[in-house]
């Protein structure tokens, strides 16, 4: 066995141990450790990615000594490795972008706790990506939830705690449903390992028995994960959680946490239930409807919002709607588009959060648009970065958003009944995106006389470098989509 | 005629235009005398060129192509000659009249500039050999004559000018609609007497062509002051300086008439129109115009406006003649073109002379004017008789032919109703023109005044015009021979 195949397991454990160690370190030490760990995880994932892409196969990694039907397994191919790499990169960038804010907003004696949470989050995300065991997935879902909650409430601001509370409640509802779904699935099939469940389910479907319980199970799991990933109409907790937490948390929450759940959902669709079975169930239509409803409603809420952070949060609701719409199309192309959008949205949304904080910083920490007028002149890097993010969200060619839009549209063309609604909603939602993002962009470029100080790029090198990395990432996704989609297709083929 | 000599056709068109543009550009002359010499010479030289052209045989000239299917093409045919002669004659006479009249006005150079430009454009209109060339000059005619209307720059004049512009373009574009179709549907757009369309083709597209014809009649009818698009005429003509209103009323309205003749008799062909519903509508409209124009003139107190209403009525005589589509009516119409041009210019110049000398504009102020300005009023009287149609003036002959033509035609009702209205209108004409003469010469016992000086630059044109009116009335054959050659080929 190649040594590189150990890396996924190592990276999960590494992150987890780092979390444990961090709890006894000082803030600075924890920060360094965390950076190191995230980078290392990234590198390891890269190695796995290169390896898996080259061989084009999927590998199973047995945890512990129990063999297949009973024991715990990791399973990874190109898609998982790439996703892990991507998560690590985004996490690193988000943390770097918000580093100054972390220092400012978090009490010094709690800083190391923040990194504990981050490490834990990373570990759970990796586990969600790699695991092949449903119950393990559930456990890490909960760990994910807890660490995310910690990330939200770390600033100990009243609003944050309240948001954390709401987030917890919704999350727990979701994970409750998810858990009961798993249990019924276990009841139906007698397995917890995904591949085995799949075999049984195929048998069940073939036999034609238990069709109702199966449908209910699928529905329970999907709804559970949908709540957790803030699909419209379960998004009520989201704006507060994203809007008031410290910026790195917001960026990570929006681009990683919800994406982790979505990735798990993909895994369920492909590996557990089987894509053809899933695509034939009614659930998919429901997802489609809620997806397009989310695209519109999220944007509408964003238009009404007067707080830049909350506006971006609502935009997340819309973007998650895109992803679910892609699922709802029930085709391979739709899935590819959704996965691409996971990447593109993660890259863009964290960029937006980070740059938005750069803008609010130079506006006396006010987040309403009135105060943000002309902020782009006071912090040029943030202004440019926000503009790039906004353009990408709107779907301007050369940025990542355009490619995902293109992929979605092309995918919609294959699906005859859903074609027109999907396309028209896509167009309408673009228009709505234009309205609120471009409004903001123009607002920040409208000069005004204020007493707020300007920030020079030199004073905040890390921030600027992070933004540049984000922009490059975005443009890279936008311009070199060909290899990325190829990778996604390859990954999906060996995914099940 | 040699092909290369044909460019002579362009000379009378371009020469006045260039001279006029030069004047507009130059703006100021050091001495008024120089200006007058310049204008006078230009007018006479143009006249000579026109004469040279008229003497020669038929000339054809394709100047250039707008696009491949749109040549700007000039041709000199009988109808063009008639109109060109008329225009030249009137323009020179009115021009000399202006020399005296314009003494009192400001911005003279500009006036003469546009006067000359309009002259050239009108000659271009007369020499046009095809539809597109005619339309080109038709538009330019509106634009070039606009400054004449606007000349005084009073608010009234501005409003009138804009009204003139609006109505004219409205008409031009209505006509343009038809023109587009004619160009597209026809094999050629060159004017050919009797029409260019085969009757079978016309029958096939009858509805379309009826619509087109209707639009063309309405469109060009605007320029000719046909009801219901006559309102601009009575606003625009009176506000211009005297000689300008003369030529506007006498000549430029005939631009519309010329265009109608060209389109109906030289492209679509008169045979298509006769007997159709469009013809009836047209006849009704002309008759309404004739009657209404006279009535309005009758109750109008301002002399120039009264004359303008009279124009509305009289031009519709011509249109009536055209609408009947009958040979002698057509001849009458053409004769009336000539007669009315001379008479109306004469009348307007008289009115101008009176205003110039006395400043009186309203009819009731003209009591005893015959004592002050006898020559002017005599000319006025002769012209009035002509317009009413009393022998031996030109108006009598033309109306005679019109009436005969109408009676000869086989259109039910209108064959007798037409002449009747002509006669009623003639009575009304007498009613609104002659009181000036009567009050002018017989102001009553106690009226005392001294005779005003009448400068020969003013009286000479008047006398010539009045004399021509009489001359044509006495020897109508001089003009009629020309007209017969036209009608011979057209119908």
């Amino acid at each position: 066995m190649e040594f590189v195949l150990n890396f996924p397991c190592f990276s999960i454990l590494l992150a987890m141990f780092a979390a444990i160690i961090s709890s006894v370190l000082k803030g600075r030490g924890a920060k360094i450790l965390n950076t190191f760990v995230v980078s290392l995880v990234g590198l390891m994932s890269l190695a796995v990615l290169i390896f898996t892409v080259r061989t084009g196969e999927c590998y199973v990694y047995v945890m512990g000594h129990f063999p297949a039907p009973l024991g715990n397994e990791l399973r990874f191919g190109a898609l998982e490795a790439g996703m892990a790499l991507f998560f690590a990169v985004i996490m690193l960038l988000s943390l770097n972008g918000g580093r100054r804010k972390i220092k400012l907003e978090i009490a010094e004696n709690k800083e190391h706790l923040y990194y504990v949470m981050v490490n834990l989050l990373l570990s759970s995300l990796l586990a969600l990506v790699y695991t092949n065991d449903l119950f393990t997935a559930y456990v890490f879902v909960e760990i994910n939830t807890i660490s995310a909650c910690g990330l939200i409430m770390i600033t100990e601001h009243g609003r944050c705690i309240e948001a954390a509370m709401r987030y917890m409640i919704m999350s727990l509802l979701g994970s409750g449903l998810f858990l009961i779904g798993i249990c019924i699935l276990y009841d139906l099939t007698g397995h917890l390992l995904m591949s085995y469940i799949h075999t049984s389910i195929e048998a069940i479907v073939e036999a034609g028995t238990y069709s109702v319980p199966l449908l209910v199970t699928i529905a329970l799991i999907v709804v559970g994960l949908a709540i957790k990933s803030a699909l419209f109409p379960f998004h009520a907790w989201l704006p507060d959680a994203y809007g008031y937490s410290t910026v790195s948390s917001a960026a990570m929450l929006s681009s990683l946490v919800s994406k982790g759940y979505i990735f798990l959902l993909i895994k369920l669709m492909y590996r557990v239930i089987g894509f053809p079975i899933f695509a034939n169930s009614k659930v998919i239509d429901v997802l489609f409807v809620f997806g397009i409803a989310g695209m519109i409603m999220g944007s509408l809420s964003a238009i009404r919002e007067n707080d830049i952070r909350r506006m971006i949060s609502y935009s997340s609701v819309a973007q998650i709607g895109y992803i679910y719409m892609g699922f709802g199309l029930g085709t391979m192309a739709g899935m590819v588009a959704s996965i691409f959008h996971i990447l593109s949205h993660a890259a863009t949304k964290s960029l937006l959060f980070v740059s938005a904080v750069g803008l609010t910083d130079v506006s006396g920490n006010h987040k309403d648009f009135e105060q943000l007028t002309g902020a782009a002149y006071r912090n040029k890097a943030a202004g440019v970065a926000f503009t790039v993010g906004a353009l990408s969200m709107v779907g301007i060619p050369a940025f990542s958003g355009f490619v995902s839009k293109l992929l979605f549209a092309q995918a919609a063309m294959d699906q005859h009944e859903k074609m027109l609604p999907a396309l028209i909603v896509l167009a309408v939602s673009s228009v709505l995106n234009v309205i609120y993002f471009m409004k903001t962009v123009i607002r920040i470029y409208t000069p005004v006389q204020t007493g707020y100080p300007s920030v020079r790029a030199k004073e905040n090198k890390l921030f600027v470098v992070t933004l540049i990395c984000f922009i490059v990432l975005n443009v890279l996704l936008g311009m070199c989509s060909q290899p990325i989609t190829e990778w996604i297709v390859q990954g999906l083929n060996v995914f099940a | 005629m040699e092909e290369k000599m044909n460019f002579i056709l362009l000379v009378p068109i371009l020469f006045p235009v260039i001279a006029g543009v030069f004047l507009v550009w130059k703006r100021e002359f050091r001495k008024r005398r120089n200006l007058l010499w310049f204008v006078g010479t230009a007018l006479l030289i143009t006249g000579t060129f026109v004469a040279v052209n008229l003497m020669g045989g038929e000339r054809r000239l394709t100047a250039f192509y707008l696009t491949k299917e749109l040549p700007v093409f000039f041709k000199l045919d009988a109808l063009g000659r008639l109109f060109a002669l008329l225009v030249t004659l009137v323009w020179i006479l009115a021009g000399f009249f202006s020399f005296e009249y314009m003494k009192k006005e400001k911005r003279e150079t500009r006036y003469y500039g546009f006067y000359l430009i309009t002259f050239g454009v009108l000659l271009g209109l007369d020499f046009s050999g095809n539809l597109i060339t005619m339309y080109l000059f038709y538009e330019f005619m509106t634009l070039a004559s606009l400054p004449l209307v606007l000349h005084s720059q009073t608010r009234e004049a501005l409003m009138a000018g804009l009204k003139y512009l609006f109505y004219s373009f409205c008409g031009a574009y209505l006509a343009l609609f038809g023109i587009y179709f004619l160009i597209r549907m026809g094999n050629t757009i060159e004017f050919t007497p009797g029409g260019v369309f085969e009757s079978g083709f016309l029958a096939e597209h009858e509805t379309l062509f009826l619509v087109i014809t209707m639009l063309l009649i309405f469109g060009f009818g605007v320029k000719a002051g046909m009801f219901p698009m006559h309102a601009w005429l009575t606003a625009a003509h009176p506000v211009a300086p005297g000689p300008a209103s003369g030529v506007l009323s006498g000549i430029i309205v005939k631009g519309g008439v010329l265009a109608l003749i060209r389109v109906l008799y030289y492209l679509i062909g008169p045979g298509f129109l006769s007997g159709t519903r469009v013809q009836k509508i047209w006849i009704i409209l002309t008759l309404i115009t004739i009657f209404m124009g006279s009535m309005l003139a009758f109750r109008e107190p301002v002399l120039k406006k009264r004359l303008a209403y009279s124009t509305v009525s009289q031009v519709s005589y011509i249109l009536f003649g055209l609408a009947v589509c009958e040979r002698s009516a057509f001849e009458g119409a053409l004769l009336h073109v000539v007669a009315h041009a001379l008479i109306k210019v004469c009348l307007f110049l008289c009115a101008g002379a009176i205003i110039y000398r006395t400043g009186c504009k309203r009819v009731e102020e003209l009591v005893g004017i015959g004592k002050k300005m006898p020559v002017t009023l005599w000319c006025y009287t002769i012209a009035s008789l002509g317009l009413i149609g009393i022998p031996p003036t030109s108006g009598f002959v033309s109306k005679w032919y019109l009436g005969m033509g109408a009676l000869d035609s086989e259109i039910p009702i209108f064959s007798w109703l037409g002449p009747m209205i002509l006669i009623i209108s003639a009575l009304l004409t007498a009613g609104y023109l002659l009181p000036v003469t009567m009050k002018g010469f017989f102001p009553g016992e106690e009226f005392v005044c001294k005779r005003e000086k009448e400068p020969y630059l003013m009286t000479a044109p008047l006398i010539i015009l009045a004399a021509l009116t009489l001359f044509i009335g006495i020897f109508p054959e001089t003009v009629l021979t020309v007209i017969r050659t036209i009608s011979g080929v057209c119908i």
């Binding site: 309240e162 409640i169 727990l172 409750g176 249990c183 | -």
Partner: protein
């Protein structure tokens, strides 16, 4: 249908409990009641699992007297799952409670909606 329900009364009860817990977590205003709802929900799941794993007449899967015959014991996996689940639910409950305490200290109420209104009134 009826006898199915009766035969599987354990599962039915579990589902009812799950419903109760879910509704409480979702709809209760009082945070403590919400947490109780959460626990009911979790417990329902454990009940369900236990019911699934239990085989009539078999022993708990603890090897005491060297009997390695699988027929002797009930299915051990659900039991393992329940144990894991309990750990998870304990930690989650702890976190929720700590959050509740913090909120209560700050706002002296357990009503989440009231806290929200108050926060909005503060404008932050």
């Amino acid at each position: 249908m009826g006898n199915h329900v009766f035969a599987n009364y354990g599962e039915v009860v579990a589902m009812l409990l799950f419903g109760i817990g879910f509704t409480n977590l979702l709809l209760q205003k009082n945070m403590i009641k919400k947490i109780i709802g959460l626990n009911i929900m979790d417990t329902a799941v454990y009940l369900f699992l236990a019911e699934k794993g239990y085989i009539e007449g078999h022993l708990a899967p603890i090897v005491v007297n060297g009997d390695l015959n699988p027929e002797t014991y009930i299915n051990p996996i659900p039991s393992g799952l329940v144990l894991t689940g309990i750990v998870v639910s304990v930690s989650v409950t702890a976190l929720m409670l700590s959050l509740t305490i913090r909120l209560y200290r700050r706002y002296h109420t357990l009503d989440l909606d009231e806290i929200t209104t108050r926060l909005k009134k503060e404008g932050r």
